[in-house]
Structures are given as structure tokens and as C-alpha cells.
């Protein structure tokens, strides 16, 4: 049996399971469509939320980021999990008590204003859209590798599967499918890590191996010492040291945390459980399930870096392992033989005078067209040649994308074929579960917040669900379009955008809405607009126009600027509300009431 057959079997089985669950638990009413009827158990909701939370990017790239940047990657590890703590203790129980099905709903009612609701709807749609594009791309890439079809066909296949069970099944269908998807993801992520930890450190538990000794050589030394030595020897900085400045690290972590706490697709998940007490339990489960993967990622990252260097550095190309050639063929790794010795060398920036270790000119590898003469495509040793010119300012010859760390990990460690198939299935589960959750928020934002509450208030229940399904179809078409034609590096850049926007808009507005009775409509709207426009302006200037890193405000990169935007939002909101009239008594009573945990009833969308 070949690897391909096994992949088909694993992915086919997991799909059969998802679709089975989706059909069994499809939604019948609007209540089931939006909140799964409100009776999901805390444990099941915890798993589903964890699956929803962990996107394909987290699943594939996070370990790679740790491998490449060591300590600096902690900003993602702490940022995303720490944000979940904020979400749980400051937001979700109160919003659940308030009892409306969407975030713009709360903002619209709390600030008694259609304008505030409108701003919130636009932000929600933008944040979800940004995310879902990346997911569709991820599904497309995996499918195209798997079935040997083009990426466009892969994206379309992924989109139709997501539409089938998210658009039709609603929240209820999604929730139970995500439970299954979490299980697949958790196994797919931890099993390779355990095998590798045993091989490198002799410890079964990856997290303990990481802080233990490196035992694969004759000489036993602490694992981190081994890693630091390798890094220094090859001209990289120490693994445990960071490159980012302290203030930048602080702001990026804070922006990621606050952004996470304002992500609408995670907040709505908690409307599916019975009451406020259950919300708290469910959040605790969720973070536990997330931690299983987040605590494994640093171990995978560190182990795979050692493995990669051991496998490839100073290895002659003809003796390089087969998986290297596979990744070369898909364009995820590349080798440029600068010194013509036929041996792969991997070096860091410290080995050159100008402090760079770029292998070729330009950011991504480009290849000659497929009907180019064979001597332009294939080198003398059989390696794949690039169309880019080599960068001869430094001796580094090996290029690879961050994403391969997780995917190549089992190959590097020589693990059995079924582990690789499981990993493929896990990767697809991660992309599908997040895409489905996002799609649901997008469709409810459009059908409920935009159509029913702003444009056409006399919409009936049945019509609303029809609009929601229609909206999810449109949203998918747009997402698939951008998945097939990504505006170059646009998706990676817009992630900073999504978090910055969530941190500078939803987080402060929700927070004051919950904890301050005095905050009024004028303050909230002025705060949101100032925070958002500052953040958008800063990111656009530095990411899309010609802003240069020297001009950074206090040295804060666009990734972390959402934190400053959030402070501006808070400041403006309090200032403006101090000079404008108090909110009506009804709203003040409502704020009083959401702090009383009992009597939350079922989440409704009326």
C-alpha cells in the first residue's frame, strides 16, 4: 500500500464521519441554526470551540514559527491563549447572560444606536472574511497535493464541503462535527511529537523531553544547549534569545490577546450552552483542549529544527533523503548550489557581512515554465533549478517555507506512513472546522444584524434562515475567489489587520459596555471610530504604502499597533462620554442585570 492510498483512506474515513454527523444533527429552526438550541454540554462545546479556534495556520505554521524564531514565537503562544483568559473572565459570561445571538446585537442594544451596530457588523464581516480566505487557501493546498489537482480545483472542493455542512447544518451541525474534528487534530498533532521526543530525548512526553537532555548523540547534553550550539555554529542567534525589542514584544502580545478576546466567531460559540455557570466550565475545557496543542507546538518546533539540520546540513544532494526531493517538487523547499560542491549547506545571517541569509533574489522561489529546455529546469545532480538568481552575498543554500516543519516532521523522523496520513487528515480538519465556524458568523452577521435589524425589520424566522444560507453561499464564493487568487502576500498581511481591528474595536467597546453604566452612545462610537481609523491608517501606511521600519511609532511594528489603537479607543470613549448626557435608564438597568448570573434562559436572536 502506498502513502497515497493511506492518505485517501484516512481522509475519506474522516470525511464520512463529519458528513454523517452533520446530516444527523442538522438544524431545523432559527434557534438551532444560530445557537444549536442552547443545550450543548460544556465538554462538547469546549472541544468544538477549540477546533473552531485552531485554524489551519495555527496547525501548520505555529511550530514552524517556533523553529525559526525561537523565543520570539512566544508572542503567539502567550498571545492567543492569554487572550482566551480575557475572553472568558471579562466577556463571555456577561454576553451570555445578555442573551442575544451575535456580538453586533449586544453593541447595538447596549449603545441604543444603529450606527454602532453598523460599525460592529462591518468589523465582524471584515475580520471573518480575512480569516476564511486563509482557510480556503489552506484547504486548497492540501487537496491539490493529495489528489494531484490544481489549487483552484482544490479550493472549490473544500468550499463545497464546508458549504454542505455549515450552510445547511447551522450551528448545531457544526458543533458536533467540530467535536470529531478536534479529536482528529489532537491525535494528528501529538502522536508524531511523541515519536520524535522518544527518538531525540528518550522521553515519551514531548514537553518533558524539551526541558530534558538530548540523547541521540553519544554525548548527552541539555536539549536547549544542543539547539543553541547548533544555531550559533551555523550563524543564527541563540534559540532561547529573542530578536524583537521588549516594547514591540509587549505590544504584539497585548494586541494578539485583546484581539483574540474580541473575535466574534469565538464569542458566539458560548451561546450554545445552557447557562452562565456552564459557560465558565465550558471555557475551562476549551483552554485545556487548546493547551494540548499549544504546549506541543514549541516541542515540535524545537525538535524538527534539530532534525532538519541533522538531516540536510552538509549532506550531498545525491544522498539527501527522498522527502527533501518531494518538497522540492512542490516548491516548498529549494536548494541553490552556490559553491558548486554538490553539498547542501544551511547557514544563518551571521555568516555574511550584510547580515542576510537569503538563498536567492526575491521573496519566494520562482520556477522556469514547464516547457523550458531541460537544462534550465533540472540541474546536473537532478535538483530542481530556480528562475530566481542566486544571492551570492552569503553562503546559505537551503530555502524552505515555515509550513513544512509540521508536514515534513514525520518524514524527517522516519515515522510510519499512517502517521503522515493522520497528519494530513488533521490539517484538513483544522481548516474545515475554522472555516465552518467563521462562515456561520458571517452569514448571521449579514442575515440577522444587517438584514433584519437594519434594512428589513419585518423579516420572518423562516426568511431569515434562508437569507443566512444565501449569505453563507455568497461569502464562500468570495472567499474561494480570494483563495484561488490570493492578492500576493495579502493574506499574511491582513492577519495583522484582523487582530488589530478586533483589538481596537470590539474589545474596548464590549469591555466598557459590560463594566461601565455611564458609557453612552456618543462615547462608544467616537472611541470605536478613532481606534479603528488610527489602527487601519498605521497598518495601511506600513504594510501597503511605502512606510519604512525606521518610522515606527516607538518602534512598534504594525502587528502590535492594535494595542495602541485600543488605548486610544478607551481614552476617546471616556473623554467624549464625560461631556455628553448619560445613557437612558433602561440601558443602565440592562448593564446592572447582565452582572446577575442567573436567569439567562436560552440565547435568542430576537
Amino acid at each position: 500500500m502506498t502513502q497515497d492510498h493511506l492518505n485517501f483512506i484516512f481522509i475519506g474515513l474522516s470525511f464520512a464521519l463529519y458528513i454523517c454527523i452533520a446530516v444527523k444533527s442538522r438544524a431545523g429552526s432559527t434557534k438551532e441554526y444560530y445557537t444549536a438550541g442552547g443545550g450543548v454540554s460544556p465538554l462538547a462545546n469546549g472541544m468544538a470551540t477549540a477546533a473552531d479556534w485552531m485554524s489551519a495556520a495555527t496547525f501548520i505554521s505555529m511550530a514552524g514559527t517556533v523553529a525559526m524564531s525561537g523565543y520570539d514565537a512566544s508572542r503567539f503562544l502567550m498571545g492567543w491563549t492569554g487572550g482566551f483568559v480575557l475572553l472568558t473572565i471579562l466577556m463571555v459570561p456577561y454576553l451570555r447572560k445578555f442573551g442575544k445571538a451575535t456580538v453586533p446585537d449586544f453593541i447595538g442594544d447596549r449603545y441604543y444606536s444603529k450606527l454602532a451596530r453598523g460599525v460592529a457588523v462591518v468589523c465582524a464581516i471584515f475580520i471573518c472574511m480575512t480569516y476564511i480566505m486563509g482557510q480556503m487557501r489552506g484547504v486548497g493546498v492540501v487537496f491539490s497535493q493529495l489528489f494531484g489537482i490544481g489549487i483552484p480545483a482544490g479550493v472549490l472542493a473544500g468550499a463545497s464541503i464546508v458549504f454542505f455542512y455549515a450552510g445547511l447544518g447551522g450551528m448545531k451541525g457544526i458543533t458536533y462535527t467540530q467535536v470529531a474534528q478536534y479529536c482528529v487534530m489532537a491525535f494528528a498533532y501529538t502522536i508524531p511529537a511523541i515519536f520524535i521526543a522518544m527518538a531525540l530525548t528518550g522521553n515519551v512526553i514531548p514537553q518533558l523531553g524539551l526541558i530534558g537532555n538530548y540523547t541521540a548523540d553519544a554525548e548527552v547534553i541539555p536539549f536547549f544547549e544542543k539547539l543553541n550550539n547548533i544555531n550559533l555554529e551555523l550563524g543564527f542567534q541563540e534559540f532561547t534569545a529573542g530578536k524583537l525589542s521588549k516594547i514591540n514584544m509587549f505590544c504584539i502580545t497585548a494586541a494578539l490577546m485583546c484581539g483574540t478576546a474580541g473575535l466574534p466567531h469565538v464569542i458566539v460559540r458560548f451561546f450554545t450552552v445552557k447557562n452562565v455557570g456552564a459557560v465558565r466550565k465550558s471555557a475551562c475545557w476549551t483552554l485545556l483542549f487548546i493547551a494540548v496543542i499549544y504546549l506541543t507546538a514549541p516541542a515540535i518546533g524545537a525538535f524538527s529544527r534539530v532534525n532538519l539540520i541533522n538531516n540536510l546540513h552538509q549532506t550531498s544532494y545525491t544522498k539527501a533523503p527522498a522527502w527533501f526531493k518531494d518538497f522540492e517538487a512542490t516548491g516548498q523547499m529549494a536548494w541553490v548550489d552556490k559553491n558548486n560542491d554538490g553539498v547542501i549547506q544551511y547557514f544563518g545571517p551571521a555568516k555574511s557581512e550584510i547580515g542576510s541569509n537569503s538563498v536567492f533574489q526575491g521573496k519566494a522561489p520562482a520556477y522556469p515554465v514547464y516547457d523550458a529546455p531541460v537544462e534550465q529546469r533540472i540541474g546536473s545532480l537532478g535538483q530542481r533549478l530556480l528562475a530566481n538568481k542566486g544571492d551570492n552575498s552569503n553562503p546559505n543554500e537551503l530555502w524552505f517555507g515555515n509550513d513544512i516543519m509540521v508536514m515534513a516532521n514525520p518524514h524527517m523522523a522516519g515515522l510510519p506512513m499512517w502517521v503522515i496520513s493522520l497528519l494530513m487528515a488533521g490539517c484538513i480538519a483544522a481548516a474545515l472546522s475554522t472555516a465552518a465556524g467563521l462562515l456561520l458568523v458571517l452569514s448571521t452577521s449579514i442575515s440577522h444584524d444587517l438584514m433584519k435589524k437594519i434594512i428589513k425589520p419585518d423579516l420572518s424566522d423562516r426568511e431569515e434562515v434562508r437569507y443566512a444560507r444565501f449569505a453563507s453561499f455568497i461569502a464562500l464564493v468570495v472567499a474561494a475567489y480570494f483563495g484561488i487568487n490570493p492578492p500576493s502576500a495579502f493574506i499574511a498581511k491582513t492577519v495583522a489587520f484582523a487582530f488589530g481591528l478586533a483589538a481596537s474595536s470590539f474589545f474596548p467597546t464590549l469591555l466598557i459596555g459590560i463594566f461601565s453604566k455611564r458609557m453612552n452612545r456618543e462615547g462608544a462610537i467616537a472611541g470605536m471610530l478613532c481606534g479603528i481609523s488610527f489602527t487601519i491608517g498605521y497598518i495601511v501606511y506600513f504594510q501597503f504604502l511605502d512606510g519604512h521600519a525606521d518610522q515606527y511609532f516607538l518602534g512598534i511594528s504594525p502587528e502590535g499597533i492594535g494595542f495602541v489603537g485600543m488605548l486610544i479607543n478607551f481614552g476617546v470613549a471616556f473623554l467624549v462620554s464625560a461631556f455628553t448626557p448619560e445613557p437612558p435608564q433602561k440601558v443602565q438597568d440592562m448593564v446592572e442585570n447582565i452582572h446577575i448570573p442567573s436567569g439567562s434562559g436560552e440565547a435568542s436572536h430576537h
Partner: protein, 88 residues
């Protein structure tokens, strides 16, 4: 519902939340970022990893899970004490 009662409940909740947030801040921003170098050099190592580095990569996440556990237990207990429980 009695207003004083609601007020007392709210105060107690707020105190708990602020306490947890203080821990949240010190384990992540404190140990992992602001005082990392000092802790790497002076605090005892975790296994073979420097303390500050380990907190940033693993310790903070573990603390977060424990924080939410404490939150769920203590908040639900507070609700019961003030008569807001919805135990079945």
C-alpha cells in the same frame, strides 16, 4: 431581587476577576517578557530550560488553564453563596 445583595455579589466578583487578572499579567507579561532576562539568569531552571524562556513558551499557558479552572470553581461558588445558582 434585593439591591444590596446584587451589589455585594458584584463587588465580590469584581475582586476575584481583578485578582485573577493580576496573576494573568504577571505570569505572561511579567515573567515571559518584562523580567525575562533577570529570571533567566537568577531564577532556578525548569528542567534544563531557563525560567523566563520556559514561562514564555510553556509555563504561561499552563497557568492560564489553572486560572480558568479557579475562575470557574470560585465564581460558581460565589453565585451559590448569593443565591444565584442554577443547580439542577
Amino acid at each position: 431581587m434585593n439591591d444590596d445583595h446584587a451589589q455585594a455579589h458584584r463587588q465580590a466578583c469584581l475582586k476575584l476577576v481583578l485578582g485573577l487578572l493580576a496573576i494573568w499579567f504577571s505570569v505572561s507579561f511579567g515573567c515571559g517578557i518584562l523580567f525575562r532576562e533577570w529570571l533567566d539568569a537568577n531564577a532556578p531552571q525548569v528542567g534544563n530550560a531557563p525560567f523566563g524562556f520556559w514561562m514564555a513558551q510553556q509555563g504561561a499557558v499552563i497557568c492560564f488553564v489553572l486560572l480558568l479552572l479557579v475562575y470557574a470553581v470560585l465564581m460558581n461558588r460565589l453565585d451559590t453563596k448569593h443565591g444565584y445558582s442554577e443547580a439542577k
